[in-house]
């Protein structure tokens, strides 16, 4: 494997990890506040659909982005209603949201565009362009650094940079601000927050809204950044992988970066080497495609140490029984 190939694989990994990273951070906010969310997949899907629809109708990727966020937030609100206000089962709510998104996107898409749930292909300003960072062209020929800068770092859509910036930002918010302190506290022991005179409900809704926002970005990136339009079920299980990455990362932002990078890298390698020839055996492509799932199980089996979720996670906060 030569240097150029490594760069190309890394470049692909960056693109593939971006939706995972955004969704993973989305889950991080929600779960850190004590609300488990297996509906990331559904929210991303809904966002991808609304983003693509509006981007197509208006010809503006930015308006699409806003719509994507709105679509995802709407589902977040449903999740909030069931798991915060009505203290329902968070897992079930998540399952329902995934179903809802998978049905509604096609139903509405078919009604609006008549293409069996697909949106028409986006062109021009309906998509987020790849951004060439300054001096990318000039530096391209500098050895080592040149390709890294020009090909790996430069040349992604804005949402990729946003996703990466979200990591330090999330870390900062979580560990350096009042909001972060309270958010972490409410996921660990909501009663401590409540007795401190801060509303548990409001904090959790805020967390869930951020979760919706980030899932919205992830979905919009899928539909208007990576590809040019919506295709039904286009999230293809990425929400679940993001969830696994979140557990792998033990609910920490920098680790989330690492975990999603690992999954992105795996997929990039599987794409590049569909039949991985290890000399003695050749791993068939069917196995390579299932590899992220198998790996997730292996990781969860505790080879990275036990992941302890936020203590109040999954439990509705009940003051009066």
């Amino acid at each position: 494997m030569d240097f150029a190939t490594v760069i190309q694989i890394l470049d692909s990994a960056v693109r593939l990890m971006t939706p995972l990273l955004l969704a993973c951070l989305a889950g991080l906010y929600s779960e850190r506040s004590g609300v488990f969310d297996i509906g990331l997949e559904g929210k991303m899907l809904m966002a991808a659909f609304t983003a693509a629809s509006v981007a197509y109708a208006t010809g503006s990727a930015w308006l699409g982005l806003i719509a994507g966020v709105a679509g995802s937030m709407a589902l977040s609100l449903v999740h909030g209603l069931s798991s915060i206000t009505f203290r329902g089962n968070q897992l079930i709510s998540g399952v329902a949201i995934n179903f809802l998104a998978s049905g509604l996107t096609v139903l509405l898409g078919q009604k609006i565009f008549g293409l069996g749930g697909r949106t028409p292909s986006l062109t021009g300003a309906g998509r987020f362009p790849e951004i060439q960072l300054p001096f990318a062209a000039a530096l391209r020929d500098v050895p080592v650094i040149g390709p890294i800068y020009a090909e790996l770092i430069s040349g992604h859509t804005i949402l990729v940079y946003v996703a990466f910036l979200m990591v330090p930002l999330t870390w900062w918010v979580l560990f350096r601000t009042r909001f972060g302190l309270r958010l972490r506290a409410v996921g660990e022991n909501p009663a401590s927050v409540d007795t401190a005179g801060v509303s548990v409900t409001r904090l959790r809704y805020a967390a869930i809204a951020i979760c919706g926002l980030l899932c919205g970005l992830a979905g919009a990136y899928l539909a208007t950044g990576l590809s040019a339009g919506f295709v039904k079920e286009m999230t293809a299980g990425r929400g679940f992988i993001a969830l696994a990455a979140l557990i792998f990362a033990k609910w920490r932002p920098w680790s989330a970066l690492g975990a999603t990078f690992l999954f992105g890298l795996l997929e990039a390698i599987a794409n590049r080497y569909p039949n991985l020839d290890l000399g003695i055996v050749t791993i068939p492509s069917m196995f390579m495609n299932a590899l992220p799932y198998i790996l997730t199980v292996i990781i969860l089996a505790g080879f990275v140490g036990r992941a302890i979720p936020p203590r109040a996670g999954g439990e509705p906060y009940v003051k009066e029984r």
């Binding site: 069931s82 079930i92 329902a96 949201i97 179903f99 749930g117 069917m286 199980v297």
Partner: protein, 365 residues
């Protein structure tokens, strides 16, 4: 003292939730420019209006009973088994292997043999997530989801490379020998001179499913194992105190759960398609979650909820077949039913409780 009578909790709450889900569904139908009333009549007619419709409704019901019971048994041990899909798919593989490779002269022999195969394969597929949960604490929700994906990949590999007859386009196994075909309910009805549900897939497995309901009820509420499953599900420290081995119970509960999910293959693989096709489960594993929840984790409730979802499935199928409403509408309706009966049930329960409390206070005064 409970806040409201048990019947209200068991019947009234799900019923009102269901009505709410239906009301929202009606709005969705309106939003896509169709008539909810027409949709409803099409569904009722198609699913319940004839012995033909019933034949299909009961066929789907049978599927959902198995997956619903599977979710329910695990739930009593407070395990959330989302892996019914993969376990049922693997159960299909078990059925196929038994029927293709064992010379079974008669369905009455083939049925128990296939049941063993289905249950074993389904249980085996639940074993690893169970063991990981019990021993390493990895979250069973995630592992079972992953195992669904892995099952799909594995099944694809097996069907395409191992079981597919050469020259066949179809990633499906060969047909099972005719001797192993299960009697359809319509044939049994014809046997007693009744013209009921001709050409519908519902078969003897329906009775197996009902027997499974009874057995699961016995298991959970009448046996020591069930007692231990329920105790562990309610309190792990309590279970330890009582000498119940959590690892053992988690593994057994998941094996039973996976086995039940696997048994679904008797209905769809052995009873209906009579060969193993890709994606034979068609989401029944996920619907099992809703069925168990709506059924309040009681076998009788599971039966009723499975019937409801059987109706939705068949009625919705008819809707998509004969009207211009896309089939995804069923998915939306299912989602709403799951949401309202499973996650938003307190939205109904809380006001109901208040009403019952007020009534009781007035009664006392």
């Amino acid at each position: 003292m409970d806040k409201m009578p048990k019947w209200a909790d068991v019947i009234l709450t799900p019923l009102i939730s269901l009505i709410l889900a239906m009301a929202i569904s009606a709005l969705v139908i309106l939003a896509i420019g169709e008539s909810p009333w027409e949709a409803l009549t099409t569904m009722v007619d198609g699913a319940l209006g004839s012995s033909y419709g019933w034949g299909f409704t009961l066929y789907y019901t049978t599927n959902f009973i198995f997956t619903g019971l599977a979710v329910m048994v695990a739930y009593h041990a407070s395990l959330f088994n989302i892996g019914g899909e993969g376990q049922a798919a693997m159960g299909g593989l078990g059925v196929a292997l038994v029927l293709l490779y064992l010379p079974l002269p008669h369905w009455a022999l083939a049925l128990p043999a296939a049941m063993v195969g289905a249950a074993l394969f389904g249980a085996a597929w639940a074993l690893i997530p169970a063991w990981l949960q019990a021993k390493r604490g990895s979250h069973i929700v995630i592992t079972t989801i992953m195992f669904n994906f892995i099952a799909a990949a594995a099944l694809n590999y097996v069907l395409v490379n191992l079981l597919r007859p050469v020259g066949s386009m179809d990633p499906a196994s060969a047909r099972f020998p005719p001797a192993t075909h299960l009697p359809k309910l319509s044939e049994m009805a014809a046997g007693i001179g009744l013209d009921w549900g001709r050409n519908t897939p519902v078969n003897v497995t329906f009775f197996v499913a009902i027997a499974a309901c009874l057995l699961v009820w016995l298991l959970i509420w009448r046996t020591r194992l069930g007692y231990e499953i329920r105790a562990l599900g309610r309190s792990e420290p309590g279970a330890l105190y009582a000498g119940i081995n959590p690892v053992r119970i988690i593994v057994i509960a998941m094996l039973v759960s996976g086995g039940l999910a696997g048994l679904m293959a008797i209905n769809n693989v052995m009873g209906e398609s009579e060969r193993l096709v890709l994606n034979a489960v068609e989401g029944a594993g996920f619907i099992g979650i809703a069925v168990a929840l709506m059924g309040r984790n009681h076998p009788f409730g599971v039966f009723l909820a499975a019937l409801l979802f059987g109706f939705l499935y068949q009625g919705g199928g008819e809707l998509a077949l004969w009207t211009s409403i896309p089939r995804e509408l069923i998915v939306v309706i299912q989602a709403l039913v799951i949401l309202f009966t499973g996650a938003l049930d307190n939205m109904v329960r809380m006001p109901l409780e208040r009403i019952f409390l007020a009534m009781r206070k007035r009664g006392r005064a």
